[in-house]
Structures are given as C-alpha cells and as structure tokens.
C-alpha cells in the first residue's frame, strides 16, 4: 500500500510541476498576475508530493519491504539501518528520486527567500524550475519507477553493493546532487533574465548567493568522493580522471568561473552576456554528467546499471534543455548587452583571464572524456584516454590561474597601475620563491615541478594575507587593528579563506605527487619493511566476523625510531550476500603524512601480498577543500544580500503599481 501511495504522489507531483512550468511563464509574458501567482503554491505542492514519495521509498527500505523491486535489488535484512537508509540512493531509480526531491527543495528555498524579488522574476524562475522538474519526474515515471512491485516478493534482498556500505558514501551522493541540482537555480535565473530581457546588477546580486551555495555543495561532494576513493577503493589514489569524476569536475570548473563572473556583473555591470552563458553551461554540464553516468555509455567503476532506453530519454532531455536555452540565448542575448567598459589593467581583466582559463580547462576535460565515445561511435576503434593526458593539459593551465588567484584580488576595479602593484609585491614574491626552493630540499629531493607548485601556493597565501593586512590598516595606514578587522565584510573574509583553501589543496597535491612512496610487497610473519623512516612489521592475520561480512584482518605494527607508533588493521572482507571481496585499508592519518596499508591476496602459507604507502601532506587536499567550502558559506552570509533585500522592497512597490495599470489600460 505504502509504495502505491509513493507512486501516486509522484504522479501528482508531475501534474503540479506541469502547472508550475507553464502557467506562471505564460502569465509573466502576458502580464496576468493570477497566473503568475500560481507559481508559489505550485512549488509548495510539488515539494510536498515529492517528499511523500521519498519518505515512502525510505520506509520500504527501513521495514525491509522486498515486494518492492528496487528495495529487493539494493538492500538486505542484514544491512545495518544507516546503510538501509543510504541504500535509498544506492541505485539508479532512487538517485533520480533524490535528484527530483532536491530540485523541488531548491525551488522551495527560492520561493521562501524571494519575497523581495519582482513578481515577474519569481514567476519566471519558478516556472523554469517547474519545467526541469517535469523532465525529471517524467523520466522517473516512464523509465525508472522505484516503486515497481516484485511479485511474488523476494525472501531477502540482493544487498547493497559492498563498496557503497561506507559512511563516506552516505553523504557523498547527496552533497554532489545538491551541487548539481543547485546550479539549476542559477540556470533558471539566467533563463528568466533572458525571457524578461532585463539583466542588471540587481539580477547578479540575487543569483550570486544561490550559485555560491550550489558551488559549496559541489565542492564538498567532490572532496568527499575523492576521500572515499582514497580510503575505500584500497589502492590509495585520490583522483583517477575517471569519466564519472570528470563529469562532476566539469560543472565545478564552470561553476567556479560563474561565481567569479557574477562578481564582475554585480560590482561593475560587465560580462552580462558571458555570465548568462556560463550559468547555462554549468547546468548543462551537470545534466551531461547525469547522462554519462546514468546511460551506461561509459566504462567506469560508477556505471552500475545500463539501459539504452534510459540513455535515449536523458539524451533527448539534454538536447532539449541545452538546445532550447542556447537558442533563447542566441535570440535574446543582444538585448541583455555587454555592460560597461574597463581598462586592460584592472580586476575585470584578471577575472576575465580566470574565466577563460577555467572554461578552457573544462573544455579539455570534456574532450578527454568524450573523445573515446566519439571514436567508438564512428567505429574508429576503442580507445581510452589515460590520466597522463589530463595531467599534461591540466597542470600548465592551472598554474597561471593559481598565480592570478593571489594577484587578482589585489588589483582595483576599472583601472589600476599593475607595475606599481608588482613593485610593492616584489618582496612577497622573493620570499615565496625562497621558501619553495628550500622546502623541496627539506623533503629530501629537489624537483622543478614541486617548486612551481609550492611557489604558486605560497604566493597565493602570502599575497592574500598581504592584501588583507592592507585592508585592515586602511589606505592611510593608521587605522587601529580592531577597527580595521571589524570593517572587513564577511564576503571578503570568505574570499580570503577560499583562496587560502585553494593554496592548501595545491600544496597537498604537489607534495603528495612529488614525495609519495608506494610499495607492493610480499610479507611473511615478522617480516619488516622500512619506508620514509617508519618500520612496518607484519604480525599475521586473524579472522573476524562483522554484521554482514567476515574478514581476514592483518596486524601490522608501525615503529618510528624504535618506538611503537601504532598498530594498523587492514581488512580483506567477504560480504555474505554478494560474496564480493572488499579491501579495507588501514590508515594512520597525520597533519604532515598518512601511513596507508592494505591487504592483497594470500600468497600461500602465512605470507600475504601487502600494499604499504607513505603519503605526505595528503590530508591537506581535504583540509583545503573544506576551507574553500567554508569560504563560500561565509561569502553567502554577507549582510549585503539581506540589506539589499530590505532596500529592494521599498523600490519594488512602485513599479508593481505601474505594471498593474499597464495591464488595465
């Protein structure tokens, strides 16, 4: 009964979404207030219906209702409760329902926090989001209904893929989807502005916090995924340039470009056309990601289910959304206009270069991801593009970007004297250079790539802090420290933290790539291996029983200078239901290094194949990503966004009256 209620709620949600996606848009075009006013209640109704459906599916998992096909495929009565809940999005149908749920949630949030926006704008934004909902709900109902019954019911479920039975995977997909789906808000604002033909600084100020929040979620989602891959997949990598990773990274790159170009549009009114295009691209790439992952055209660890019918539906949806929005863009963009002029040595130029580099990098990643598909489709052979390609195009383009990330924030808007600025910063540069030459020697080996990476990162940190110091003491240089500190806006502090986060990630990547040690060895009882000053001693294997698996657990003692540091317990698990072997790595994490041990196969007798890795500074990757996210949150919490709303309220009242009269006459 409960699953049928869920199914019915989804159908109702589709009906409401159809209303939400049509009448308010027509109303905004023809000036009918009543039709426009339908948007808000429709959003609420749609959200409630999708929420009911989501709760029904979750209920089926919690009570082990194996008469539902999807539950029987992805859960099991032995599965711990936490994983039964996360199994709701452990497969194709449930992930889509989560997408739809989040889309409805974002629309609801826009509805709640848009009291000060002009009614037409709200109607258009919510209308476009309604159309997107129609697409997703139709997709679910036509090709991937999670509530389909299995008759007769299964005695027990086929279990969740053991790889997904992990705390990291409980949060990784929802975070990522929040980011993907969040870009739909920026997209809808962009489409709404094209429809209305009006795009100004106020528009940028409205869409900026939404875009930043979506970006924050995407950042956390990608970082969590990378962290999960590192400790769960058992071979110690944190980024594989896997097509599915790429499809989350491309929207992130374009989204990063978008939040920077929105800054220009808000502050200076420039880049308007470009900002709109980026908003369309960011969401299109999110949809493309969904297509690549869900259609099964990719060979990837993530491609769990494949079904051509679904692929065709998403491809159709993708072509419609991208085609329609680009056509609208081509038609209306000239009306939006380019915005004000600026000098070549100005912050606008810096941000333009930032945008170009980010978009080019996204293009390179797109090429590397789609090229194999293209050749295969043309019957020119089956190829794969390896990580060296991505490294070769990524690093040379990212290095200049990171150098600019420090400098750009110091350059003034409109026009600045770059030569004088460089002159002021020369000591900062020399100091960064010295540090980045000395550190590689301290790590034991000099390498030009490490120096370049460190130089860019230390430069960003020092220039950013220098800029903040200058702001605190003021132009005249005699303001008291506490006054100065109080004068900093939270969006400025957010930017500082996010940029430092970028530098911290770069330090992590540089040092772990430069100095990691990875050894696969055969270890027998009492064998020892010395690596980077740590001594690893194999003390044998014991057998343990988990809630739904049994495991061989290794005991490896780690000593530093003869002192026992820790005992690591890597596991080789066999899950009872799917009888799938799984490697659980054991990691001793520290600020400056991780020690990583995982078990290979038994080599007969008491000997085992063992992976022993030394990973310097790897934790900085996730620490830096966390800082970037926190910076984003701080930027959104800026008082300016709330103040503007209050000011807008007064302004908006007058034109509203005009408009109503305009309709009457």
């Amino acid at each position: 009964m409960i699953p049928e209620i869920g199914h019915f709620a989804l159908i109702l949600a589709l009906c409401i979404a159809l209303i939400q996606g049509t009448l308010p848009l027509v109303g905004a075009a023809t000036g009918r207030r009543v039709w426009m006013n339908l948007a808000r209640p429709a959003v609420l109704g749609q959200f409630l219906m999708v929420a009911v459906a989501f709760v029904c599916l979750t209920y089926a998992f919690v009570v082990n209702d194996f008469s539902v096909l999807y539950t029987a495929m992805h859960s099991n009565s032995q599965l711990p409760l936490l994983y039964r809940v996360s199994a709701v999005w452990g497969g194709h149908e449930g992930s889509l329902l989560l997408w739809a749920f989040m889309l409805a949630g974002w629309a609801l949030a826009v509805n709640l926090f848009s009291r000060s926006l002009p009614e037409e704008m709200v109607a258009r934004v919510l209308g476009v989001m309604g159309l997107l909902s129609v697409g997703f709900l139709l997709f679910i109902l036509l090709t991937s209904n999670p509530f389909e019954r299995l008759l007769p019911a299964a005695l027990d479920g086929r279990d969740l893929n053991p790889l997904l039975q992990d705390p990291g995977l409980v949060f990784h997909p929802p975070m990522l989807y929040m980011g993907y789906v969040g870009f739909s808000v920026a997209f809808s604002f962009a489409i709404a502005s094209l429809l209305g033909g009006k795009l100004d600084a106020a528009w940028a100020r409205w869409s900026r916090p939404w875009t930043t929040i979506a970006w924050v979620f995407l950042t956390f989602g990608i970082a969590l995924g990378s962290w999960w891959a590192y400790y769960e997949l058992g071979w110690g990598g944190w980024w594989f340039w896997d097509p599915v990773e790429n499809s989350s990274f491309m929207p992130w790159l374009v989204g990063t470009a978008l939040i920077h170009s929105l800054a220009v549009t808000e502050k200076r009114g420039c880049f308007r056309n470009w900002t709109v295009l980026l908003a369309i691209l960011a969401f299109s790439l999110s949809l493309l990601g969904a297509f690549l992952v869900r259609s099964g055209v990719l060979t990837s660890v993530h491609a769990f289910a494949t079904d051509p019918e679904r692929g065709i539906f998403i491809l159709g949806f993708l072509v419609t959304v991208i085609g329609a929005s680009l056509a609208l863009y081509a038609w209306r963009a000239p009306k939006v206009g380019l915005g004000g002029a600026f000098h070549w040595s100005s912050r606008e130029t810096m941000l333009l270069v930032n945008n170009v580099l980010l978009v080019v990098v996204a293009g390179m990643v797109l090429l590397g991801t789609l090229y194999p598909l293209l050749l295969d489709a043309l019957n020119l052979g089956k190829i794969s593009v390896g990580p060296p390609y991505f490294d070769a195009v990524f690093v040379p383009l990212m290095l200049p970007l990171i150098f600019l990330c420090g400098l750009g924030a110091l350059v003034r808007w409109k026009q600045d004297d770059l030569v004088a600025l460089m002159n002021r910063l020369r000591w900062v540069f020399i100091l960064s250079l010295l540090l980045s030459i000395v550190i590689p020697f301290m790590m034991g080996r000099f390498s030009i790539m490490v120096t370049l990476g460190l130089l860019s990162a230390i430069w960003v940190i020092s220039v950013t802090l220098y800029g903040m110091w200058k702001r605190i003491i003021g132009i005249s240089g005699n303001r008291s420290f506490s006054d100065g500190l109080r004068s900093l806006t939270s969006s400025y502090i957010g930017m500082v933290i996010a940029h430092i986060g970028v530098a911290v990630v770069v330090i992590g990547i540089t040092l772990v790539s430069g100095y990691e040690i990875e050894k696969d060895v055969r270890m027998d009882l009492e064998d020892t291996l010395t690596m980077a000053g740590y001594e690893f001693k194999f003390k044998g294997i014991e057998t343990i029983e988990g809630p739904n698996y049994s495991a061989s657990r290794g005991l490896i003692e780690v000593r530093e200078n003869g002192q026992l540091l820790t005992v690591l317990h890597p596991e080789k698990r066999i899950y009872n239901v799917q009888t799938m072997p799984m490697t659980e790595a054991a990691i001793d994490s520290g600020v400056f290094r991780d020690l990583y041990v995982s078990l290979g196969d038994s080599l007969g007798g008491t000997a085992w194949a063992v992976r022993v890795y030394y990973k310097p500074f790897i934790g900085w990757l996730w620490m830096g990503s966390f800082l970037m996210g926190v910076g984003g949150f701080l930027a959104v919490s800026d008082r300016r966004y709330r103040l503007v709303k209050r000011r807008n309220k007064k302004k908006v009242v007058a034109p509203k009256v005009d408009m109503v009269e305009g309709v009457k006459s």
Partner: protein
C-alpha cells in the same frame, strides 16, 4: 586606448591562448591514447609492437600462476578463439577471478607475452566491460565460421 584596439587585443590574446591549448591537447592526446585489442587481433599481429595498448577477455580457468617469491603473476586471457599470456607484477584487483572478464594495459613483449602495468576488473560481479563483451562476440563468430 580605443575600444576597437582593446577588443582586438582581447581577440588576439584569446586566439593565442586557444593555439597554446590546442597544441598541448593534441600532443597530450597523441601520446596518451591506448587502443583496445582482442586476443585474436593480438595473435593476428594487428596490435602495435612498441606502444601501450589494452587487451581484454576472460581469464582462462586454471591459468593463474604465481611465479617465484615476488608478486609476479602469469595468466592468460581468451576470447574463446585465441588466448594471450599476460605477466603482471603487483597486487591484482579484488574482483580478479578465473573465468571473469578483465582488461589489462601494457606492452607486448618480443616473446609474445603481454607485460601489463595495470589490470582492471570491474566492481560488480555481474558487470562485463563492453569492450570485453564485444571481443567475446567476435571470438564466437570466428569459432563458428571456422567450424562450418
């Protein structure tokens, strides 16, 4: 500076950036592509000799052998028509198993043994990499046409 000049500079800078990017990309693509070959194609000499490529098929039952004290493993992959011996040093992935699909990346030695630096098995017991599925299909056709 006039607007026209400024636009010209931007366009030129953009073109220069594009040119650099395009060069990087094609150089990188060129040296990092690896083509996929089935065991039959390798036996028939279609695979390149001094370039990295990928080979895939089913791990032949009973062919996996540990050699010596180290971590070197020999096994053979088959598309049911032909098979190729693969040598790999290191730890095999969790789902590597006799009778299962596998993809290996590496180079073909002069002794006709494929020296792999990477072995991939998929993270799902029922999943078959599409390349391997195609190779098996081709192998089947080959056996049938030889038999008739």
């Amino acid at each position: 500076m006039k607007n026209r000049h400024k636009r010209l500079i931007f366009v030129l800078a953009g073109l220069a950036g594009l040119a650099v990017a395009a060069t990087l990309v094609f150089k990188a693509l060129d040296s990092n592509l690896s083509y996929f070959f089935s065991p039959t194609e390798v036996i028939e000499g279609e695979a390149p000799v001094d370039h990295v490529f990928r080979i895939g098929g089913i791990v032949e039952v009973g062919s996996v052998k540990q050699t010596g004290e180290g971590l070197t493993v020999h096994f053979s992959v088959t598309d049911n028509a032909n098979n190729v011996v693969i040598s790999y040093t290191g730890i095999l992935p969790d789902l590597f198993e006799e009778g299962q699909g596998v993809i290996a990346q590496g180079k073909l030695g002069a002794d006709n043994v494929f020296y792999a630096d990477e072995v991939l098995a998929k993270h799902d017991e029922t999943y078959m990499p599409p390349e391997v599925a195609d190779a098996l299909e081709e192998g089947k056709k080959k056996v049938e046409s030889n038999g008739s």
